[in-house]
């Protein structure tokens, strides 16, 4: 069995508007930073894999432009997923497990601000019954939020407390788009955006990019004193039929956590990809997180959610806790699709 570890992570600041839809301007400094942090040169990377979306860019095959940022000469081995780059990380992880590559650089990027994001995301729904109605992503999340409120899973105050804690945590995160010292009371005074969601319950629309370097076995030990070894990695999906799902639970997240061997009472810190405040509460339950677990010490995606790289960044941020020695066992989570439909869990350990 080949052991695979995260050995490097870098992300751009999350900004309301940055770069072009090609991603090149955002990716060049991110690549330079992540390669410098590992001591690798681009020639040392055996496999490149990216996550992005033509629907965000408004152009076909938009990821091909981003390859400019690699400097792909001599030619490189490269792949792409039309998903958050956390799923590109999964592809690269499997590639390293096969032994066909010893190092991989995985990157995600997206300019969410080029279009109307909540409307663009309607097109990830089934094209016969849902997408023709243009149900926007915020409204769908609001349907889920109310279902949870009606079921007594949480209160609007508890949702606001998630947002307040996230914003306070983000004060220490220079890459965050939103941060602040507002209390739950302050936040609850704001009007609804989509009842029962207020602005603080929704991730801001932002542009950004991120990159993670994976390495196998001795290569990882050579590059890092303390690699973040991946001990479990899994992803699952729930039905695309919104009305069939019980929106107050997240079976696919629970299944991914089980398959990845996540023990919710044995991790030190978890980075959850919860673009809406109530989703953090639903995910903490689905993953069985204990009270002692530090959840989203970065501030989470409520403070910066650059589409197609935010999920990858959850894993990179969690890995940094291990690489820096602040934690022994962590997990990163990524989501995609409407109302937490798809979920991915990556468990990492220091030794």
């Amino acid at each position: 069995m080949i052991d695979v570890a995260v050995v490097g992570f870098a992300q751009s600041p999350c900004l309301p508007s940055a770069g072009t839809t090609s991603g090149v301007e955002l990716l060049v400094p991110v690549f330079q930073e992540v390669l410098a942090s590992t001591g690798l040169a681009k020639q040392d990377i055996d496999f490149w894999c990216s996550g992005s979306s033509d629907y965000l860019a408004g152009r076909a095959f938009s990821f091909v432009n981003a390859v400019d940022a690699i400097g792909a000469y001599p030619p490189v081995a490269e792949s792409h997923v039309e998903m958050d780059a956390a799923w590109a990380l999964y592809e690269a992880y499997v590639k390293l497990l096969t032994g066909e590559a010893r190092t991989a650089l995985v990157y995600g990027f997206g300019k969410s601000s080029a279009g109307q994001l909540r409307r663009v995301l309607a097109l990830q729904l089934d094209p016969y019954l849902h997408a023709p109605l243009w149900p926007d992503s915020v409204s769908i999340a609001a349907l889920q939020a109310r279902a949870g409120l009606d079921a007594g899973r949480y209160t609007e105050r508890e949702m606001a407390e998630v947002a307040a804690r996230s914003r306070t945590a983000a004060l220490g995160n220079p890459k965050a788009q939103v941060s602040g010292t507002d209390t739950a009371d302050d936040l609850l005074a704001a009007p609804y955006v989509a009842d029962p969601l207020r602005a603080h319950d929704c991730a801001p629309v932002g542009d950004g990019a991120a990159a993670v370097v994976l390495a196998a076995g001795d290569e990882a030990r050579r590059l890092r004193a303390r690699p973040a070894w991946i001990t479990g990695f899994a992803h699952n999906v729930d039905s695309p039929a919104l009305g069939v799902r019980d929106l107050t639970s997240v079976p696919s997240a629970s299944a991914a956590a089980t398959a990845a061997g996540l023990r919710g009472d044995e991790v030190d810190a978890v980075e959850l990809h919860a673009p809406f405040s109530h989703q953090e509460i639903l995910l903490a339950t689905a993953l069985g997180l204990g009270d002692a677990v530090r959840v989203n010490p970065s501030g989470g995606v409520l403070c910066g959610n650059p589409m197609f790289s935010a999920g990858l960044s959850r894993i990179g941020l969690a890995a940094e806790h291990v690489m820096s020695g602040r934690a022994d066992r962590v997990a990163g989570h990524a989501t995609s699709g409407p109302a937490l439909q798809q979920n991915l869990v990556c468990v990492m350990e220091g030794a």
Binding site: T20, A72, Y73, A114, P132, A142, D195
Partner: protein, 308 residues
């Protein structure tokens, strides 16, 4: 910039019957392996993944399972005035359907409220035949009709708007064009000159920084003759689209070759830009209308062999 496409999709046996029923002003669900009725119908069982075939009629009224309220509807949504989104469990179904509720004001919405379908005036066999739902209390929904031909296809127009941002390098290039100049940039690592300039040298992966002004003439490296008509075509075919390697550049640009017969265009042909009248110039590549033969002797193959 607006992009749009009318997506036309074929329907399988389940959705074909569902859409045909909508055209008849009836709503069908399907019975799953556990006996639950799903409306709208599923093609495959959510528990066993077996194909589902037993369709049953549900509705036309139902109960709101969860809801939200949208003060400012977005383009393409079912209503253009404030409305509620809801998951609605239709009478006779066990799972819910997503749609809009025309409730007038938010205070009319609540979980458990009873609603009924409002049909579009002219059903065609599309999910939008359900115009929306409305609180029960007014007139009953329009009656079903018969004699509808089976619906096997649906067409859904999709339109999205984007605002594209130019990079710093592209801005220099476009501003140069407005002054009748072609501004490329040189890679600091390998020395290659790119026009238009890019965010990074595709060979080295480093940003290009040094501006290089290039002449408006060059060499045809390769070309094709366009014989196929297509919507929006500016020039009647046949005509030539070519890669033109400007003198001093390391990457060719694609452009039209006019001013000669298509069968006269050849690799190595020397060409010069034909600019539009100066008063029509803007920050756009359209300032150069096309390239035409310059009359110079052909460039030797070796001079552009590395740029094919």
């Amino acid at each position: 910039m607006e992009i749009g496409f009318d997506y036309t999709r074929s329907l399988g046996p389940v959705l074909s019957r569902f859409m045909t029923a909508l055209a008849e002003r009836r709503i069908l669900g399907c019975r799953g392996s556990d006996g639950r009725v799903h409306a709208p119908p599923l093609e495959y069982d959510p528990v066993t993944y077996a194909p589902l075939t037993e369709l049953v009629e549900v509705g036309p009224a139902g109960t709101v399972v969860t809801w939200t309220w949208l003060d400012r509807p977005l383009d393409g949504q079912p209503l253009d005035r404030p409305f509620g989104w809801a998951l609605i469990r239709l009478d006779g179904a066990d799972t819910a359907m997503l749609h809009a509720v025309d409730a007038g004001t938010k205070d009319q919405m609540r979980t458990g409220m009873r609603v009924q379908v409002r049909w579009a005036p002219e059903p065609v066999g599309h999910i939008r035949d359900v115009a929306c739902f409305e609180p029960i209390g007014g007139a009953a929904p329009a009656s079903p009709r018969s004699g509808v031909d089976p619906v096997t296809m649906v067409t859904t127009p999709i339109h999205l708007r984007y605002r594209h941002t130019t990079s710093i390098e592209e801005s220099r290039y476009l501003r140069g064009l407005a002054e009748g100049k072609l501004i490329g940039q040189r890679c600091p690592a390998c020395g290659k000159v790119y026009v238009p300039p890019r965010g990074a040298c595709p060979t080295c992966g480093v940003p290009t920084v040094d501006d290089v002004e290039l002449p408006d003439r060059g060499t045809v490296t390769t070309f094709c003759v366009v014989n196929v008509p297509f919507p929006g075509q500016r020039i009647p075919p046949p005509y030539v689209v070519a890669y033109v390697l400007l003198d001093g550049a390391d990457i060719p640009m694609q452009h039209l070759i006019l001013g000669c017969r298509p069968d006269e265009v050849r690799m190595g042909m020397r060409v010069a830009a034909v600019w539009r009248p100066r008063e029509q110039w803007g920050t756009t590549p359209q300032n150069i209308d096309h390239f035409q033969p310059s009359g110079e002797p052909d460039a030797p193959f070796d001079s552009y062999a590395q740029h094919l």
